[in-house]
């Protein structure tokens, strides 16, 4: 467990010392959220209708942007091999990296989304549900995306390839995440959506490190 926390601490430290890389994902989210009203028009009713979906897709794309970073730096400077050769279970170490990645790339999106939701004139309970659904959904995005990042280490066309591999797998999270806010807005209640998001989070957290370890070993062969 010490190794897990040491790795999380290390990656967090690295992220704080490379602020530019980290903030780019967040800035992208802000910009994308502003693009949609510009393209569709400022009519409040329309914006309220598309708001949750737009913010969810924006968060998804922002997560995609930061995924290649997850293993790439370690792979370049040789520390990935040390992780694989470590006596600690690789799955645990990978989970540590995913957690650190989410804290730095996912959590800011969760915090920012309600603020951006104000731009779409969403009511406050919708803002709350948006934050909750993203809080449950962005870790799943990090987990599934990590598999894509691990498989495409050092491959040409990296970022776009990861997106192509991983976006279809994100669809369930998107459907239930954005759907939760919609359901709340239409008065149907979002309990089912939240439970399903939770039901996707737990297997993702357990299954993804294992799949990533296999993918990393394949990439290093």
């Amino acid at each position: 467990m010490n190794a897990f926390f040491a790795l999380v601490a290390r990656d967090l430290r690295l992220a704080f010392r490379r602020k530019a890389e980290v903030l780019s994902g967040v800035f992208f989210f802000v910009v994308v959220a502003a693009l949609f009203p510009l393209a569709i028009g400022p009519e409040a009713a329309t914006l309220r209708h598309i708001g949750p979906g737009v913010l969810w897709v924006g968060a998804l794309l922002a997560s995609m942007l930061t995924l290649p970073r997850l293993f790439e730096n370690d792979w370049r400077d040789g520390s990935l091999e040390h992780l694989v050769l470590s006596p600690h279970p690789l799955g645990l170490l990978v989970l540590g990296k995913i957690v650190a990645h989410w804290l730095v790339s996912g959590l800011p999106l969760v915090a920012l989304a309600p603020l951006l939701g104000l731009q779409f004139d969403l009511p406050s309970d919708a803002l709350g549900m948006l934050a909750l659904s993203l809080l449950l959904g962005t870790p799943v995005l990090s987990c599934i995306g990590a598999i894509g990042a691990a498989l495409t280490l050092g491959v040409r066309g990296g970022g776009v390839l990861v997106a192509l591999l991983v976006l279809p797998l994100f669809v369930p999270v998107l459907v239930f995440g954005a759907g939760a806010v919609e359901a709340l807005n239409s008065g149907l209640g979002a309990q089912a959506h939240v439970s399903i998001l939770l039901a996707m989070l737990l297997p993702a957290v357990f299954f993804s490190p294992w799949a990533c370890s296999a993918a990393l070993r394949i990439a290093l062969e």
Binding site: L7, L14, S79, L85, S86, P87
Partner: protein
């Protein structure tokens, strides 16, 4: 007594075998220097011994058992340094050493790490990010890491490259100490190396 055995190991690249099946045994206190031209497969051989790359045939044994079966024990006993040093530029030397030691299974305290760096002449620079150190200074951080390591088998890929004379002597000293403590050493190098005792040469390729 832990021995390293390679039994008829070979590997393939692009469908073709890189070299004929290799078999050798390395005992505690022994060092083996793998020589061969560029592209003869030296790095691949080292990676196979570490378990990073699969063998197309044969197997590698540690202490008489296949490394796939004793993965945990083997990884505690193994230190591998490839071409890249595995050091993070944004972290300081001390931070690098401490994190690396935790991940390697033998955690090292702040004081110990500092002492090792001082022994390499980097005491005053130990808290600066590695980014500001020169290439030679970074290699000395890697050297400090070797010194702190409690692993019994060291597999080093081109450890002497880009080192000046003083650094070469320092590295040789560290390696000699390791062998004197019954450690095993497997490394590649293009130049002749003086490690106090007989270094088993091993030639790959024609």
């Amino acid at each position: 007594m832990s021995q390293l055995q390679a039994i008829a190991i070979s590997c393939e690249r692009g469908g073709r075998p890189l070299f004929a099946p290799q078999s050798f045994t390395l005992s505690p206190g022994q060092a083996m220097q793998i020589e061969g031209g560029n592209g003869s497969g030296k790095t691949s051989l080292l990676r196979m011994v570490c378990g990073l790359a699969p063998t197309a045939s044969g197997e590698v044994r540690w202490g008489g058992q296949a490394i796939a079966e004793v993965r945990h024990a083997f990884s505690l006993d193994l230190l591998y340094l490839g071409h890249s040093l595995g050091l993070k530029d944004e972290l300081s030397a001390v931070e690098n050493l401490r994190v690396a030691s935790v991940l390697a299974g033998h955690p090292v305290g702040h004081e110990e790490a500092l002492q090792a760096l001082q022994a390499q002449g980097l005491g005053s620079r130990s808290h600066l990010p590695l980014r500001v150190l020169s290439q030679g200074q970074k290699r000395r951080v890697a050297l400090a890491r070797l010194q702190l390591s409690k692993a019994r088998l060291w597999v080093l890929d081109e450890p002497f490259v880009a080192l000046d004379t003083l650094a070469v002597l320092a590295l040789q000293q560290v390696l000699r100490q390791h062998l004197a403590q019954d450690g095993l050493l497997l490394f590649t190098s293009h130049q002749a190396v003086d490690l106090g005792g007989a270094v088993l040469p091993w030639r790959l390729g024609a």
